[in-house]
């Protein structure tokens, strides 16, 4: 099938508005690995015939890393210009695959004049599955396979979303094996709080190595993530343990797309 990736501007020019805006995020736009996730999610949206659009070149960093690193001016500059764009297009509903974009737009934009219904793609996918709009191939490639799920801090503790991603995984008929530190006790991948953009402070061990070891100890062949930074950190961790040929680090959207 042919995939459409309409921009909000194109729809607006045709006098249309999308039901939902897919906020791609910087990692989803520029990181080679996470671009696959973006494309997987767009394929799902296409296959299900959802009236969506992206901002394309009009999208800009939410400002989250600047804010967590202390640069409130830069954050608010970014936030307010994004809000001007979103409000200009009268966007009501936003879905994103990035928990950091999700948290910022959902929780922090309202104080600056941007109030939208914001969903993380795990919630969006869960909803589609629950509504019966997603029918996965019987005996799909993940049936019976051991999958472990790594909670992203900004989905989990930050916003209390623990079950949606797990329900998505259960829909795959996979065997979900949990790590020791999960949900509210989930162990960070090490990239939050703008750590993604700097070397870690001196210590005994890198956070992502610690977490990758824990994930590998479950014996799962697949480590499912729902965040671009967790994806980078855990992929690196698995590589550092020389397990990259045996264990995949994949996003929920990719798993669903492969089973559709």
């Amino acid at each position: 099938m042919e995939y459409k990736v309409p921009t909000v501007a194109e729809l607006a020019a045709a006098g249309q508005t999308p039901d939902v805006l897919f906020w791609v995020g910087c990692a989803g736009s520029f990181d080679d690995r996470y671009k696959n996730v973006t494309r997987a999610f767009v394929k799902i949206l296409n296959k299900l015939g959802i009236n969506f659009a992206v901002l394309g070149q009009e999208e800009s960093c939410t400002g989250d890393p600047a804010r967590r690193a202390g640069n409130e001016f830069l954050f608010q500059m970014q936030a307010m210009s994004n809000i001007q764009v979103l409000n200009g297009y009268e966007i009501k509903k936003i879905v994103t695959a990035c928990p950091h974009c999700f948290n910022t737009i959902k929780n922090e934009y309202p104080a600056l004049g941007g109030t939208y219904e914001v969903m993380h793609h795990s919630q969006f996918l869960q909803q589609l599955i629950n509504e019966g709009r997603v029918t996965l191939k019987g005996g799909g490639e993940f049936k019976g396979k051991r999958i472990t799920y790594h909670d992203s801090c900004y989905l989990g503790r930050a916003n209390g979303i623990y079950e949606a991603p797990r329900e998505v995984l259960e829909a795959l008929d996979a065997e979900l094996v949990e790590m020791k530190r999960v949900k509210a006790k989930g162990f960070c991948c090490g990239a939050g709080g703008a750590q993604m953009w700097k070397e870690p402070e001196p210590g005994k061990k890198d956070v992502n190595i610690d977490r990758a070891e824990e994930a590998l100890a479950t014996g799962a062949q697949t480590i499912a993530v729902a965040c671009p930074f967790c994806m980078v950190m855990l992929s690196d961790g698995v590589k550092a343990k020389n397990k990259e040929n045996e264990v995949d680090v994949v996003d929920l959207a990719e798993l669903i797309d492969r089973s559709l």
Binding site: G56, G113, K198, P200
Partner: protein
């Protein structure tokens, strides 16, 4: 009872009240060193937090063994205080077992006392187990760089005082029950099943010796409790009172939401030419003074009063540090240390102000004199510390306010972050990619058919 003991008792009570009142003034003034922050919204949620988290100890039960032992001490503390009320009445009016003389020493009174004794035994056992956990098993979360001599001694003093106070109650009841048969002054009550086990130790002693032991135990217990109440105000044990206001005034927003800075909002709106009236006022944002001294926090006077209340509420249990990914992988950051440093610094300023000193203007500050850059830069903002705290302390809030100071006042953020800032400013993404490439991910999709 003669007049003299009553006079001594009244003097001791008066002195205790005077010292504690002075301590309360000192602590509440130190808390008010912080900036104002409105926490009067969401009253229902706040009462719920107080009832569930503080009164109901909800978050303690994530770790069941310490939770149950702690519950014994907590219930013991509340219930045994009913008995302290009788102590105070007896001390003031020279009565003996006042409640027994009202309702009779048998029945309800004896049942209540046996229940108190059971609690006293449970408190005693719990305190012994806690001492073993700290000093013999050396449970990891009670160790760490910030757990220097004083915090460790403080913890041991608290546990040992509680043990000694419980022993005093048991000894007092044991000797009292022997004396009931020998002297009409001792109101009939009992039998006491727990202290009764100690009766064989005392029953061969002379009446005078027993009276001395009983009176000593009585005075020891009541003076011990009063002295402990004073001690608590100097120690990490303030959580027994402050857990209640601290959970009431705790965060009610999603943990991921950072506090807004309305001052910055105003400036940014002016720069972008956006009218100022749009957003609703953010109740949770601290109200910076009109002539804003600085962005972010360098010292405790830049924090909010809630950050300082947090620090006074902290009992250094270390659940935050134990769950911190930076700490657990050997970084210098320990959320508990951040919270402890806030209290140490607030007290340093308070003591200086009390003697007419320079207070916060003493050339020192929370940041750099207490908390280092390395600690602040190690945080992943994962909120594990916030989640872990049984009394809703938020160490992360302090860290993020210091980051704001570093970035906006000193431009001393790590070099790599400064580059990231530049990238966002020039390329609108934290990485240096041309903005025109933002949508190229779709190219392969649009041209492809499956």
């Amino acid at each position: 009872m003669e007049f003299l003991p009553r006079l001594v008792f009244i003097i001791i009570i008066g002195l205790t009240i005077w010292i504690i009142a002075k301590r309360i003034r000192f602590i509440s003034r130190n808390i008010q060193l912080g900036l104002p922050q409105d926490r009067t919204d969401h009253k229902d949620q706040r009462w719920r937090n107080l009832l569930l988290v503080a009164f109901g100890q909800q978050k303690m039960f994530k770790r069941p063994i310490p939770a149950i032992l702690h519950l014994f001490i907590y219930i013991g503390f509340i219930i045994i205080n009913i008995e302290v009320l009788e102590f105070i009445i007896d001390g003031l009016f020279g009565s003996h077992r006042f409640f027994a003389s009202i309702i009779g020493g048998d029945g309800l009174y004896t049942a209540a006392l046996n229940f108190f004794e059971l609690l006293a035994i449970l408190v005693l056992i719990s305190c012994v187990v806690f001492l073993i956990r700290r000093n013999v098993l050396k449970v990891n979360r009670f160790e760490g760089e910030e757990m220097t001599r004083w915090p460790k001694l403080d913890a041991n003093i608290i546990l040992m005082v509680e043990i000694v106070l419980m022993i005093a109650i048991i000894v007092m009841n044991a000797t009292d029950s022997i004396l009931q048969a020998r002297s009409p002054y001792y109101t009939a009550a009992g039998p006491f099943y727990f202290s009764g086990l100690l009766v064989p130790l005392f029953e061969n002693m002379s009446t005078n010796t027993l009276i001395i032991i009983e009176r000593f135990a009585w005075w020891f217990h009541i003076i011990g409790i009063l002295a402990f109440a004073v001690y608590v105000t100097y120690s990490k044990h303030l959580h027994i009172f402050l857990a209640f206001p601290n959970t009431y005034y705790g965060d009610v927003k999603p943990k991921g939401e950072m506090r807004n800075m309305p001052v910055v909002t105003t400036e940014v709106k002016n720069m972008l030419g956006i009218p100022l009236d749009t957003p609703a006022p953010d109740h949770d944002a601290p109200e910076a003074p009109a002539d804003i001294a600085r962005f972010g926090a360098k010292d405790v006077t830049d924090l909010s009063w809630k950050n300082i209340l947090d620090a006074y509420t902290c009992t250094q249990c270390g659940r935050c540090t134990d769950s911190c990914p930076a700490n657990q992988t050997g970084k210098k950051l320990s959320p508990r240390k951040i919270v402890m440093d806030v209290r140490y610094r607030a007290e340093e300023i308070g003591r200086s102000l009390d003697v007419g000193g320079p207070g916060a203007e003493d050339g020192k500050a929370l940041f750099r004199d207490y908390i280092t850059e390395e600690e602040i830069n190690a945080c992943t903002t994962c909120q594990a510390c916030v989640e872990a705290c049984p009394v809703l302390i938020n160490p992360l809030d302090v860290i993020l306010q210091i980051r704001r100071y570093m970035s906006m006042e000193e431009s001393s953020s790590p070099q790599e972050w400064q580059i990231m800032f530049q990238n966002i400013e020039t390329s609108f993404a934290p990485w240096k990619f041309p903005p025109s490439d933002r949508f190229t991910w779709a190219d392969s999709l649009k041209n492809k058919s499956e």
